[in-house]
């Protein structure tokens, strides 16, 4: 990739970075705080993300399509839902890190419903976050919210999965490249 392509790919970020720099001169209070927030977030990202992507790469190379389809594909039933749920819950890191994993799952033939369950679990029932939620907001708050979330995740997956037509479904699978 040459420099020109690189700039084009990162242009939105570069523009925002420039805007932030200008603001730092005009309103140092806001601009500099924003910069330090961004730096903190990027640092956090860099500390969490490498193992996720390494595991993702290993999953992509070692787990073949047949296995993935057997366990989380169409017709994998309750077992498939449970595996997708646990896969999402055992994760760490923000939701955006889950999207590349979802891509690999779709590429390997997981059902759309199970991928939606996986994304739902990743977003709200991550085990490390649950312990943290209990510590901050109390066991009762955490458990009540967890019970509601499990119902919510399954319902969201069911509703969105039903609303997608066969054509749109094929297009989504096609998109993963």
């Amino acid at each position: 990739m040459n420099v020109k392509q690189l700039i084009k790919r990162y242009r939105v970020f570069l523009i925002l970075f420039a805007v932030n720099t200008v603001i730092s001169f005009a309103m140092p209070e806001i601009g500099l705080t924003a910069f330090s927030n961004t730096a903190k977030n990027i640092k956090e990202m860099i500390s969490v993300i490498p193992p996720i992507f390494i595991l993702l790469g290993l999953l992509d190379v070692w787990v073949d399509r047949q296995t993935m389809m057997k366990y989380t594909g169409k017709g994998s039933g309750l077992k498939g839902i449970l595996i997708s749920f646990l896969l999402g819950s055992a994760a760490a890191g923000p939701l955006y890190a889950a999207f590349p994993v979802a891509t690999v799952m779709l590429k390997k033939g997981s059902s759309l419903f199970n991928v939606l369950v996986f994304l739902g679990a990743w977003s709200t029932t991550k085990i490390p976050l649950l312990t943290f939620e209990a510590a901050s907001l109390g066991m009762r708050f955490m458990l009540t919210r967890l019970a509601l979330s499990v119902i919510g995740i399954l319902m969201i997956a069911m509703i969105t999965d039903k609303a997608i037509s066969q054509e749109e479904r094929e297009e989504i699978y096609h998109m993963q490249g």
């Binding site: 595991l55 290993l58 955006y96 709200t124 919510g152 997608i164």
Partner: protein, 158 residues
């Protein structure tokens, strides 16, 4: 702490993979890097937008809008703030606890925490790349509605 477990897992996985097949391991690392580089431009953009949002919106401002007296409007406001912001969980929960102490309501906090985790307006471009436009929109809308329902349910249950 949990991050270390993940590192250990990834390390062990790499080692086993390397012993079994060097070429495949190299491919796995290449794929890992490619998936990461694929989302990096959007990711950096998201990071800088969050940095801005957090610099402009102070915890005091947020607390004012979603106090326990704020009712349904407060719940909606909390859900909206949660949908837009993208605060990591281990920052969000202490923040939520602090907000509760400062007079925010349980229902508002539930709406905030729930949308924070399930709805991502800023990351919609990233999500669209995987799920397509329609499914992304539907998933986020359904998660938003669920969060509001969960907020009311928490009001009754807690």
């Amino acid at each position: 702490m949990f991050t270390y477990v993940l590192y250990a897992l990834a390390g062990a996985g790499l080692l086993i993979s390397f012993m079994k097949d060097k070429k495949k391991t190299k491919m796995a690392l290449k794929k890992a890097w490619k998936s990461f580089e694929n989302i990096l431009p959007q990711l950096l953009t998201v990071m800088i937008i969050i940095g801005f949002a957090l610099a402009v919106l102070s915890p005091e401002t947020i607390s004012k809008v979603i106090g326990s007296e704020s009712g349904v409007l407060g719940i909606l406001a909390a859900a909206l703030i949660g949908s837009i912001t993208l605060i990591p969980g281990f920052v969000a929960f202490p923040l939520a606890a602090a907000l509760l102490e400062n007079g925010a309501g349980y229902m508002q906090i539930t709406a905030f925490v729930s949308t924070l985790m399930m709805v991502g307006i800023i990351t919609i471009p990233m999500e669209t790349k995987v799920l397509g436009k329609k499914l992304t929109m539907m998933r986020n809308c359904a998660a938003f509605i669920f969060s509001i329902i969960a907020a009311f349910a928490m009001g009754v249950l807690i």
